[in-house]
Symmetry: C2
Amino acid sequence: MSYDTLKKIMHTVTDLGQAAAVLGWDQETYMPDGAVIGRSEQLATLSSLIHTFMTNDAAKAAVAAVKPQLATMPERERRVAEMFIRDHDRAVQLPAELVEEQSRVASLAQDAWKRAKDASDFSIFAPLLQRTVELKRQEVSYLGACAHPYDLLLDQYEPGLTVDVITPIFDRLRVGTTALLAKIQPNLAQANDDVLHRSYDTSTQLDVAREIVQALGFDMHIGRVDLSAHPFCTSFGATDVRLTTRIRENDLRSCLFGLIHEAGHGMYEQGIGEDLARTPSAQGASMGIHESQSLFWENVIARSEAFWTWAFPRLRAAFPTQLADQTAESFFKAINKMAPSMNRVESDELTYNLHIILRFEIERDLVAGVIEVADIPRIWNEKMQASLGITPPNDAEGCLQDVHWSFGGIGYFPSYTLGKLYAAMEWNALKVAMPDVTEQIARGNFAPIRAWLRENIHQYGRTELPTEIIKRITGRELTEVDFLDYVGARAARVYGF
Amino acid sequence: MSYDTLKKIMHTVTDLGQAAAVLGWDQETYMPDGAVIGRSEQLATLSSLIHTFMTNDAAKAAVAAVKPQLATMPERERRVAEMFIRDHDRAVQLPAELVEEQSRVASLAQDAWKRAKDASDFSIFAPLLQRTVELKRQEVSYLGACAHPYDLLLDQYEPGLTVDVITPIFDRLRVGTTALLAKIQPNLAQANDDVLHRSYDTSTQLDVAREIVQALGFDMHIGRVDLSAHPFCTSFGATDVRLTTRIRENDLRSCLFGLIHEAGHGMYEQGIGEDLARTPSAQGASMGIHESQSLFWENVIARSEAFWTWAFPRLRAAFPTQLADQTAESFFKAINKMAPSMNRVESDELTYNLHIILRFEIERDLVAGVIEVADIPRIWNEKMQASLGITPPNDAEGCLQDVHWSFGGIGYFPSYTLGKLYAAMEWNALKVAMPDVTEQIARGNFAPIRAWLRENIHQYGRTELPTEIIKRITGRELTEVDFLDYVGARAARVYGF
């Protein structure tokens, strides 16, 4: 009886969240320019109602009634209820004034960040980032004690992981990455990516990308593809999953790998168990596990040599002139060039993590008060030089390149690298379960791969913690070893060492 | 202070309504096929919350507090508050079980109607229509006493109008229409519309239609155009108004006049006063007044000879081969053919009203219990024969042609004809205010027309009753005379009598 009451609350909260997601998708794809203010009011009303239904007396009573029953509930229901209670407990601890102030500051800070980036002047953004950090420190203080204050922020994106766990893993990952880069250095000429920057008809690019993600297993009957300024995936339940990509005439990677990445997110959402619909478990387990799915398809599968055995003839049929001088092998090398660069989003799968590690260290120390906002540009540049051997010429290309801090997304960055580590561990587990997986990929037979991911990850939605998922699949704890092995083997193939 | 509380409630209710409208638009344009169930749950949650916030104790308290202050409130605020109170009073009278049962039956009835239409068998639809009518009779009984029970249903679509007012007007309209048709009969050969059914490239059709509605004054910065199975206009506030149309290769009218019609609705929404945003007045005054705006642009303006003086060269530039043998005059005649036909939506602006009048009479008598559902096919066919001289060969082409009754839209049909009567009265008022309006149209100068409509109708949104609007603009009560004069003059021009 009590669980039914809780379920009704979960349905309301989830339906409202999905409605808000439709409005968000619309805003990025089709909404007319002049509609921004009205849309922000509609969204503010929806999110305020979500907060209300999540934390009001009815929710408190339902949670209190269900808590004593948890031990005797069927496993799956118990997990769902626990996720709601988790969200509820966090939400009720935060005063409404703090949440409102954070949302107000976030909208000002995003604007200031844009202006600062355009002017390449960190000082324009600094006061609002300062305020953002102060509010995050307050948020942490409401959430109670923890080994490291940053753990309480990380918990929103990667529940169960902590600074104590991540720091040594990231340290070893940096060492391994640096060692691998040193091996690549003398062989850089082996990978030439000029071919990616020829002229490619934009609508043909989109056609090819759509065909490929459908072949991988993204279901267009319960999903669709549109264009937007930045690629994203959003879901309004497992039966309505929307991907977007962007197309650049002179960069063949942008549309294709952008869409494969988002389709990885999308297949995760499409595979979530029907019984979880309209609950807080009708979503991915965490940002990192979600990212493991997008990276699994984008990098592990679609940047592999086996994949291009199947895909290259298809791509060349679409662009016969531009790809006339290419082979599956030369193309595989072109899309796997690994070299330090200034920009996170343009970097390759190896050096990407160095960008993440420096951001993690800065935000971890900011929250703890070890460093202050004013120190960021200097520390950023020092860390860039130390880990990537590059010093940004200005703030725009340096510490202002990412939007995340401006919307208060402190604690978010580690998910990207965790996704890479999870994906490599998942890949090793899949190879054990399906020894001929590489041959299947080369034949374009992706259905068993998707089935394995669905069986082992997707169907669970958000009923387990990331640590539980990884343990269940691999029998091991999170490690950087699988990723370093995987990327090392790929680098060796590309650069011939 | 009390008004501020009421305002907050109005904002919540309006924002939720607009969010639901976004979801509805998405469903008709881009939503994947497989998402129907999830979407209906999201929409059910939103409409149930709207009902809750409209009728709960907080709303009752706010209404009770504001009522004594109405007399001393500024006019515009008072009008807005009165509209909310109107909606509130109606909503609180209806038991939640009735509303839920109506919504449940509506979804079953729509399905039954589709099956009945496909099978051309009224008996498949009859039991659910019977239930729909019973629920409507119950609804009326909750809403209190009235001269005619139908008045309480009509009130939702055309507040302020009653059976007593409409019946004699519609009777005279039928007589006038029949007389006009008798004059046209010997001259039918004058209007040949074969040209409309040649082959027209669909994307060029859409381009031309978009250009024309922008020229008329539909603002794409705060609006957009998409395709859907049936054309519609929806608004999420004055700064986000969406039109759809459909395109048929062999019917030049479908896309162009469909879009102009919807743009008439859309310009109304775009012109609503900013101060009314997020209130129950941020919409058209009634279905009939809304229809007067769409018909004003579609028929009064865009089917006029003056309009085609300007538009025909543009259309011929887009379709030089297909229109080589046409002149502005021959094209004007082709799009104004007037002759009895079986189908409401395919009929011309003169005979259209005969379709409406028979529907009005049937639903009026159904609600009053004068006739029963089982009588409908017979009565329909008798009335078709009497007023249009045609007997439908089967139910699909006869009494099953419209969706309205299946979703419970009883009381809706009169709005279509009222829109035509209003539009003709508005046109006469505009000609007094702007004596050279015909010359302006011929020059393609539509801005002053839109400005006049905005000044006199649009900016008021839903702050006045339809009767008040017409009285303010024309100084007169609703009449069929203006429409009969207008359509008589056009028929005379087309058929040369």
